[in-house]
Symmetry: C2
């Protein structure tokens, strides 16, 4: 998906700054996609100069002004059109998998060359990480009001449910089968 479409899509969920978009990639979206500051900021500037988003500068004493971007009507039109062509391209490409770089899987793949204590640490930390993530996905308590609106989106419900089962399955498998790697 083009970075413009993605930024517009995220802004369609509510006005946000570049910093806050990055926070989404590091938080709730971290298991699905990510963009760096070096991509986000220039993209927002381009979208603004083409009037796909508007920008309100919030002065903050001594911190850089917070630039809050809002998607425009023109931007919404572009987003929907791009989304359709991105989906068409997804189908056309025949490439339905995800792009993944997993340090964990590589360490497991070469685990026979790792000292046992190191392998234990890697496994323990991974399981701990998965459990924390699972809690985040399942958590249903109070959250900031901007995010509360998101939670009602059908797509978010679907994704949270999918992520939860996948994490649960992963945790269960690793806990049951990690002994296999050591004999």
């Amino acid at each position: 998906m083009q970075k413009e479409t993605l930024c517009l899509g995220l802004l369609s969920l509510g006005p946000r700054s570049g910093y806050e978009i990055k926070q989404m990639f590091e938080g709730p979206l971290s298991d699905f996609y990510s963009l760096s500051f070096g991509t986000i900021y220039p993209t927002l500037n381009n979208l603004q100069s083409s009037k796909y988003v508007s920008c309100k500068q919030h002065a903050q004493s001594k911190k850089p002004d917070k630039k809050v971007y809002t998607i425009t009507k023109k931007g919404l039109v572009l987003m929907k059109s791009n989304l359709l062509s991105d989906a068409t391209e997804y189908i056309r490409s025949g490439n339905f998998g995800d792009q993944i770089k997993s340090e964990f899987f590589l360490l497991v793949l070469f685990s026979k060359y790792l000292p046992n204590e190191m392998l234990d640490t890697v496994m323990n930390e991974r399981v701990l990480y998965l459990k924390q993530k699972l809690e985040q996905f399942k958590y249903d308590g109070p959250i900031p009001s901007e995010l509360a609106a998101l939670r009602k989106e059908k797509s978010i419900k679907f994704i949270r449910g999918l992520a939860s089962t996948l994490f649960e399955t992963g945790i269960r498998y690793v806990e049951k089968n990690r002994y296999l790697l050591k004999e």
Copy 2:
């Protein structure tokens, strides 16, 4: 993980050409990690000039010579040492998740802006893809002899088992809950 460590690790499973390493990334490793030709070929050349791998050129009438690389003793030493520092860095970084870019999840996230038929196609193709992958992971029949050796590795058994359950879980969830996205 450094690209050198990764290439050495794959060559520790048996001698291979750059093209064949790429095939591993496109085949069995595709759901865990990938490197492009533009990274693989220069890395192999560097490893060779530092004597971490040796190279036998197999002349082939009119195709470019196939360069088959074999890891050296020096290379095995470097690989084990690097693997340990890579694992240490994995622990130190506190970043235990995977780097993921999933076009599918983005399309689901913004599915309310997609026409229903397009969403159906995306879902159908994704499920089909997952089912094919699952079959590949579960398949236990005859395979080329180089790969047969791999199959006996403990780490490969662990990974195939994990991948299989995760794909099964994913398929089941999508099939049961895809209606949620449409009301």
